[in-house]
């Protein structure tokens, strides 16, 4: 007996060259605040100009908010919402990767809900207030990692408390998500790999989560299989369009869908906690550094599930009822992409901080795990991972 709820109302427009569809789609407003990162990459790559030229064609007014930071902050979100109010914008466009999109989503919340964003955070020092609606959001994705294009979540860091938390409400499902893998051809190799592994771990975690359902299993196994096959290809040749298409499909669509209906588990909590404390640590990297030791620890709790994941990663692998084939495939993928033994020390994490990381993570809670991990378990995982 199984049951589930599924609601993914986003209009997804997926495919190479689809950015041009912007002029053919009914947009949810007349005046947009376009959120982009402060590194001005969207300007440098000419993507912002393409977007604004398309908006000009269909008489949509726009203003640019170009102060989004990586691991976007509460402060950035509040600034974006003030800007949107000042300019009278009636919808948001998140243009770029997860940071820009999540800033757009969170700012959209603040257009319909008074006060400070953190009053609506439901964990940590958050006020736990219910979110009542949001302005419409359109996303134009230039990376293949977060899945935020197709899910109701946004991840924001409170720069005052170093907490990195998820905000989720049906109202922030993007109204339209344009996913054009051609925009991803120039992504640097390291970012591509971080994001590719982020997608892999979204799929794995949503599969082993206690809230996984039939529908998400379908999305997750498909995504795991695609990432395992295509991440090594895109690692070798970032200009391979087919590999970019496949990675984008897995990361942006399948994983977004999986996250809408299931949830990520403790590795994401630990990783987000580390990125909150050490902002140099990219989200994908935070998951990679602990993956091997984490899964060595938990594979025995769910051997059947990990056998299935192992088969999805490598069709030819042998399932022996222990989940070992999954560990082999994971380590193989880390080796093949040269991401194994990524050093935590390189991101400025002192070994002495490990107990604190473990304590904070556990404090946020591992409510979606099917197994119990103690603070001590996490300390051991992180110590074994440390290099």
């Amino acid at each position: 007996m199984f049951s589930f709820e599924s609601y993914i109302p986003t209009r997804v427009v997926f495919g190479p060259g689809k950015l041009n569809e912007l002029t053919n789609i009914k947009l949810p407003g007349k005046k947009a605040l376009i959120c982009i990162t402060e590194d001005q990459l969207m300007r440098k790559l000419g993507i912002l100009d393409r977007v604004t030229a398309l908006l000009d064609k269909i008489d949509i007014e726009y203003f640019i908010f170009d102060r989004v930071t990586p691991n976007p902050t509460r402060k950035g979100v509040m600034e974006a919402s003030v800007e949107a109010k000042d300019k009278g914008c009636d919808f948001f466009i998140g243009l770029g990767g997860g940071s820009s999109i999540d800033t757009a989503k969170a700012a959209a919340i603040m257009m319909k809900n008074p006060g400070d964003l953190w009053e609506y955070a439901s964990a940590g020092t958050g006020g736990g207030k219910a979110v009542e609606g949001a302005f419409p959001v359109v996303t134009i994705t230039t990376t293949a990692g977060t899945g935020t294009e197709c899910d109701p979540w946004c991840v924001i860091t409170n720069e005052r408390t170093n907490e990195k938390l998820d905000f989720g409400t049906e109202a922030v499902f993007p109204k339209v998500s344009i996913i054009d893998p051609e925009l991803m051809l120039t992504l640097p190799r390291t970012l591509t790999l971080y994001q590719g592994f982020d997608a892999l771990f979204h799929a794995i975690e949503c599969y082993i989560a206690n809230c996984a359902v039939e529908l998400t299993n379908l999305y997750c196994l498909e995504a795991v299989s695609i990432v395992s096959k295509w991440l090594p290809v895109v690692a070798k040749d970032g200009g391979n369009l087919e590999a970019r298409i496949q990675m984008s499909y897995a990361a942006n669509v399948l994983c977004g869908f999986a996250q809408s209906l299931s949830a990520t588990t403790s590795p994401h909590i630990i990783g987000q906690c580390m990125s909150g404390l050490y902002p140099n640590l990219a989200h994908g990297a935070s998951l990679i550094v602990l993956a091997e030791e984490y899964y060595k620890k938990v594979v025995g709790f769910l051997p059947g599930m990990f056998d299935t994941l192992g088969k999805a990663m490598d069709e030819s692998s042998k399932q022996d009822g222990t989940g070992k084939c999954f560990l082999d495939a994971l380590i193989g993928l880390l080796n093949e992409t040269e991401m194994r033994h990524l050093p935590m020390s390189g991101f400025g994490i002192p070994k002495g901080d490990i107990p604190e990381i473990a304590r904070i993570s556990k404090g946020i809670g591992f409510g979606f795990d099917r197994y119990e991990l103690s603070i001590d378990d996490i300390i051991k995982i992180l110590q074994k991972s440390y290099c």
């Binding site: 049951s3 109302p9 997804v12 997926f14 689809k18 498909e222």
Partner: protein, 386 residues
Amino acid sequence: MEFNYHIPTKILFGQGKLDELGTIKLPGKKALICITGGGSMKKLGYLDRVIELFKKNHVDSVVFDQVQPNPTSKGVMAAVELGIREGVDFTVGLGGGSCIDTAKATAVVIRNGGNVWDYMGGITGKLKPVSKGALPIIVISTTSGTGSEVNPFAVITKEETFEKIDLSSDQVFPAITVVDPCLQTSVPKSLTAFQGMDVLFHSAEGYICNCATPFSDMYALQSISLVAKHLIAAVEDGNNMEAREGMCLANIYAGMVESTAGCTSEHAIGHSLSAMHPSLPHGAALSLVCVECFKYYARFIPDKLAQMAAAVGRRAEASEFIDFLEDLLRETGAGNIDIGEYGLDPTKAEEYAKNSYDVTQVLHDCDIYPMPLDECTEIISKSLIR
């Protein structure tokens, strides 16, 4: 790879989910509940349960109980009249595809005015845009067959002109779809079988159509595999909940396929036969012609059939998929159709074939290799002379 996805329906799936209608936020205050004239929704107590749950949720109900199998434009207009007179602000399809599609079409006409055929294509439709939207629609599905639970189509028949076609609009995606397998235990064997075949062909045709994508293929293969696993068991024992759940899920996946890919000439032929002989159930029409259709497809796209054969646990060869269909028709009883009972006439094969192009060319257009009229006629003729 490129595709569009847009299925803004909230799906509540699982045993006992019906009860959530008493607590969740409903999209209006007064419901028009559409059920068939046969009385099964009343006899089984489902109608009373729904009215009671709505009442608990402070929503009034009006019942339209004149939906016919293969619902007609006249039936829709009668529902519209009742809905307007009673001032309803959302519609509910309680039952199978006929009720769901009546609720959908009614929701469009109440908002936009005029006649339902203004918004249809086919030969005599005006294909007006559904510019004013539609009333919100709730679906409570008591069969596993149509896929209408999660797609933007309502299939309506105009009896005078023998047209059976889709009203197609994003506006008729249900706001909420409740799939509670407990409501399906009393579906009789033959209907379970016919509907199961319909599920299978929504997915199989979606898999072989020219607008299939890896995204729709994912749902299609999973759906086909679920039908292979559960349909016979559901027919044999209607109370087998695992089998009913499996078929419910297969149907939802098939609906996702319909929303992201399309059906092919097999459905065009099926619609044509039911349009000319309205008593012929849709699933029966498909069951009649499926073997000949897929034998035809196998000549052009054997690889696709081989992949579907693998999905049902057979050797990856096109002929294995045909064997699978023949076995399934035999074991579910869906193949036992007395064509005389429905008035089907093998000598009219060409007329049936022509109707399938005249009315539903859009379905023929989804074939990778377009089916010529003479082949279509032969498929129908062979299917009817057995």
